[in-house]
Symmetry: C2
Subunit: 89 residues, 2 copies
């Protein structure tokens, strides 16, 4: 079965506060980094999955993102899938 | 001063264990998602910064990534910067 690489980006919805991001922004200011207008911390999940085809991989990864990787109440997610060129069966 | 959008991706070095990722992988298996070969959780930081030019933005963001966003002992980071087309001064 072919392998697929996927990247799921999970970010807080804009209406949700990000205290960790705010703390980092204020620490950056103390470090001398000026001009930061926005700093929000999200998750990036790196995945490799074996599936019968692209559609199958997509279905499984969408289920995974919705149910396990993101909290749909406060987070949004985006998914990128690319096939891996493999020489084995 | 021009604005720049930046995205910093922080990921655990491959030699470092990722217990949260392993737990998610095993939960995915119970959910019926088979064929996951890899699942590693990293951070994605969304930034907007005001700087005099691209080089200035890059210098500041590299300092920020090295000192505050990633732990260089166990994490690697990559940086993407793109200018924001703004009509105001």
């Amino acid at each position: 079965m072919p392998n697929f690489n996927a990247k799921v980006q999970v970010s807080l919805r804009t209406s949700v506060l990000d205290p960790a991001g705010e703390a980092t922004k204020s620490a950056a200011n103390k470090l001398g980094i000026k001009g930061l207008n926005k700093l929000r911390i999200g998750k990036a999940i790196d995945i490799e999955i074996e599936a019968s085809d692209f559609e199958d991989a997509k279905t499984q990864l969408e289920l995974l993102s919705d149910r396990l990787l993101a909290n749909p109440v406060i987070e949004d997610w985006t998914l990128e899938i690319s096939p891996v060129d493999s020489s084995n069966t």
